[in-house]
């Protein structure tokens, strides 16, 4: 009996000494965008808003909200910096507080994309094991616009130098004849 109690105590002690789980407690916030989809044309500018709320019972500490854009169709290369030059915002929330974050976005590619905001802890105390909080996707449907084509540019880039070259040649010949 005594041996059984002793083994139980040792087992419990060993379990208590086991390292913490790989994922620490979540940040304790929710992120909600103000809409689920955006339709615009190539080059169109729009503002996406996301509301971050502290649903926990303790202050969040410093958090970083980061906007990202990804292509969800085809193999379009997306450089998020082109879409929004300011994609990170720092803030902190008291329990129950919320913050509306605005993101200025310009559609620089046509196609179907998704924007989302991820919230993560920020600062020197970040262990690297905290959970991330991600907003629902916001679908971005960007219609194409007429793009430059070599077919259109060709007449301009050929005819103008030809016309100016001919004019210069005629002018030079006339000037030489006058002298």
């Amino acid at each position: 009996m005594t041996r059984g109690i002793l083994l139980t105590v040792i087992l419990i002690s060993l379990l208590m000494l086991t390292p913490a789980a790989a994922v620490a407690s979540p940040v304790g916030v929710t992120v909600a965008p103000d809409r689920s989809d955006v339709s615009t044309v190539l080059g169109g500018r729009f503002t996406l808003k996301t509301e971050v709320t502290n649903t926990g019972s303790v202050p969040t500490g410093v958090l970083l909200a980061h906007l990202n854009v990804a292509s969800v169709q085809g193999d379009i290369y997306v450089d998020p910096e082109d879409w929004s030059p300011a994609r990170s915002q720092e803030f902190s929330l008291q329990p129950g507080d919320s913050r509306m974050l605005s993101w200025e976005i310009q559609a620089v590619n046509s196609g179907k994309f998704a924007a989302y905001v991820v919230v993560l802890p920020f600062g020197e105390e970040v262990a690297g094991t905290e959970e991330l909080v991600v907003s629902p996707l916001v679908k971005l449907d960007v219609a194409p616009r007429s793009t430059v084509s070599a077919g259109l540019a060709l007449p301009v880039v050929v005819l103008i130098p030809l016309a100016l070259g001919a004019t210069a040649a005629v002018t030079l010949i006339r000037a030489r004849r006058r002298t």
Binding site: R45, A150, L164, A175, R178, T179
Partner: protein, 280 residues
């Protein structure tokens, strides 16, 4: 050679009665200088070279279908910067030939004895040089149209190019005339002017990844060419309102005021024959 004969014909000494009624002296000089520039073939030849350069840039930009919307705006910006920089360069070169060229060709004397004030002579030469800039801008319009219409910034690009380019062109042409007036040799004047523009244009070609502190910012703001081109970038690429970043236009405007003021104040004193000037 054409220019020499033409200039001598046009600038034969004449008395005050020869002045066309109702026309200012500077207008007469401007008219003759413009004719000299364009009928001699110098202007058309420079425009032809200018158009070949713009064609190369436009074709390369328009055939790259991988460019995204923002990069297309950057392509318009690149083309417009190129048009302004090269347009200003040819304007500067023509103005740098204005006084020293006359002096070297031996036609300044006949020009000075005409009943036109020396300020009138300077104004006429400045206008003739600026006619080249305006022609260069007109040539660049279809190229800008090809690239800018697809991204909806055609009118903005054209207005910006005309306004900003004209400010820079007036300033640099004034500096070119000042250099030309103080240089005995035409070669010196042309070389100094081209070198000056090269120095002013060089900072715009620095890689953006280089560390740029406050000293770099001050240098850029003080540089009329780099500053004006930066203003174009903020407007066309970053989509700023025209009232934003007007600080970039301060040094181009100051250049116009200082160089133009120096021409008005000191022009009569420095536009003169020099001993041994004809020999260069």
């Amino acid at each position: 050679m054409t220019t020499v004969v033409k200039s001598r014909d046009l600038r034969a000494p004449r008395n005050a009665l020869d002045r066309p009624a109702g026309r200012s002296g500077w207008l007469v000089v401007a008219g003759q200088e413009v004719q000299d520039l364009w009928k001699s073939g110098r202007g058309p030849l420079l425009l032809f070279c200018f158009s070949v350069l713009l064609s190369a840039v436009t074709y390369l930009a328009s055939t790259n279908q991988a460019l995204n919307f923002l990069e297309r705006r950057e392509a318009v910006n690149l083309l417009l910067q190129f048009a302004v920089a090269v347009g200003v360069l040819v304007t500067l070169i023509v103005s740098a030939d204005g006084i020293s060229g006359e002096r070297e060709r031996g036609t300044l004397e006949s020009l000075l004895v005409t009943p036109v004030s020396r300020r009138g002579i300077i104004a006429g030469k400045l206008i003739a040089a600026l006619s080249l800039w305006l022609a260069a801008f007109l040539v660049s319009v279809p190229y800008v149209w090809v690239l800018a219409r697809a991204v909806g910034i055609l009118s903005k690009a054209l207005i910006l190019g005309l306004v900003v380019g004209t400010i820079v062109a007036i300033g640099m042409a004034s500096i070119g005339l000042l250099i030309s007036a103080v240089c005995n040799s035409n070669k010196t004047s042309l070389a100094a002017s081209a070198f000056l523009l090269l120095i002013l244009f060089a900072p715009t070609q620095l890689p953006s990844g280089l560390p740029q502190g406050w000293f770099f910012d001050v240098l850029q703001l003080a540089n009329p060419v780099a500053s004006a081109l930066s203003y174009l970038t903020t407007q066309l690429v970053q989509g700023a309102h025209w009232t934003e970043d007007l600080v970039y236009l301060v040094s181009p405007v100051i250049t116009v005021v200082l160089a133009g003021g120096a021409l008005i104040l000191f022009g009569p004193g420095i536009v003169r024959l020099r001993a041994g000037g004809d020999a260069g």
